[in-house]
């Protein structure tokens, strides 16, 4: 893995009832995926608000994955559909704000599909690698460098 890859951070908001279990299963199955991912367990992706995604980017995430249940299988009936609409709205906001909308993505993974989970993680890491580090992260680093001088 290149040093460029090592510095990347991708936040994954994973639903407790599906994607989080899939990530757990991926571990049990010894499936490999990059360690840049930071998994945050959520009770349901429908609980996530637009602010959460924006804050993740503000705090230096290079990419964000929102991983919910497959459509039609939400434990709370339609939480994943609510999340999908919020993710789409946030992607539009990111684009307006000068950040690539591809840095945020909603995916649907069942608890049994560990391989799909690792595929999505690898795809996101690849997307972020192509886009380069978040410009916000660079700005933050510059600000931190300026403080001592």
């Amino acid at each position: 893995m290149s040093s460029n890859n090592l510095e990347m951070t991708v936040v994954a908001f994973c639903c407790h009832y599906c994607a989080y279990a899939a990530a757990d299963l991926a571990g049990s199955m010894r499936l490999q995926y990059p360690s840049n991912i930071r998994i945050i367990r959520t009770p349901c992706t429908g609980r996530l608000e637009v602010e959460y995604f924006l804050k993740a980017f503000e705090n230096g995430a290079d990419g964000v994955i929102v991983a919910g249940c497959e459509e039609g299988s939400c434990h709370f009936k339609e939480g994943n559909l609510i999340a999908k609409r919020r993710v789409n709205y946030t992607r539009k906001l990111l684009s307006e704000s000068g950040l690539e909308m591809e840095r945020l993505r909603m995916v649907n993974v069942s608890a049994a599909n560990a391989r799909l989970f690792t595929d999505y993680v690898n795809e996101m890491i690849e997307t972020v690698r192509k886009l380069g580090p978040s410009p916000l992260k660079q700005a933050k680093r510059l600000m931190q460098q300026e403080i001592p001088s």
Binding site: L54, K55, E96, S97, P135
Partner: protein
């Protein structure tokens, strides 16, 4: 309630460019209910502005605050300190709120972050519709509670224009014909005879056409 929607982030950046310390000021009343300028939207727009600023190097320092009502001096006072500390205020209140703040802080630039759209109601989740044009001379009692001034695209007061298709408006086929609704409503409440009455031209001087309006209640003045 007053219904509004946010301006786009590039529009806001254009407005705010040249300022550093920016206060995004929300309003806890109408614009909170229509999900345009409440505490949550203040947080979202502030985050988006910070992201834009850092990604493109505008140097904004964005602070957030939401007060109960921007159109009321009593509540504006609660924002006094935050307003004083900022270089400019981006108000997420309606047009009245923006002007109330601007009138109180003569040397502080106050900008509108929303486009105030209309007086309306929440029709269903995420859908707001216009119901009142604030014409200043209400005629709802004559039309079974359905406003032809607001809901008829041609503001017809004495019957339908004759161009509606089924129950759809000719001008906006995705909208119902107001006169179809008025007929059904009057029939339902047994007041169809109201339609025999010819309405004289409406008094528009009490609308915005007569200039900005003022209501004075002497019994409440001090």
């Amino acid at each position: 309630m007053i219904v509004a929607e946010r301006k786009t982030i590039p529009e806001l950046v254009d407005i705010l460019l040249g300022h550093k310390r920016i206060l995004v000021l929300g309003c806890g009343t109408c614009v909170t209910v229509c999900l345009a300028g409440g505490e949550r939207e203040v947080s979202i727009i502030s985050s988006a502005l910070r992201i834009t600023s850092r990604a493109q190097g505008f140097g904004f320092e964005v602070k957030e605050l939401t007060i109960e009502r921007q159109c009321d001096n009593v509540f504006i006072e609660q924002a006094a300190e935050a307003i004083e500390k900022s270089d400019a205020v981006l108000s997420l209140g309606c047009g009245a709120g923006v002007q109330a703040i601007a009138e109180r802080y003569l040397k502080k630039p106050v900008y509108a972050g929303l486009n105030t759209a209309f007086l309306g109601i929440l029709e269903e989740r995420g859908v707001w519709t216009e119901k009142c044009a604030a014409c200043g001379s209400c005629v709802l009692h004559e039309y079974g509670g359905i406003c032809p001034v607001t809901r008829c695209a041609k503001h017809m007061l004495n019957g339908p224009c004759g161009s509606s298709r089924e129950d759809r408006c000719e001008v906006r086929p995705d909208r119902a014909c107001a006169w179809q609704l008025i007929y059904q409503r009057l029939k339902g409440i047994g007041q169809l005879d109201r339609l025999n009455q010819i309405d004289l031209p409406k008094k528009w001087s009490s609308s915005l056409s007569g200039g900005p309006r003022v209501i004075i209640r002497e019994d409440h003045r001090i």
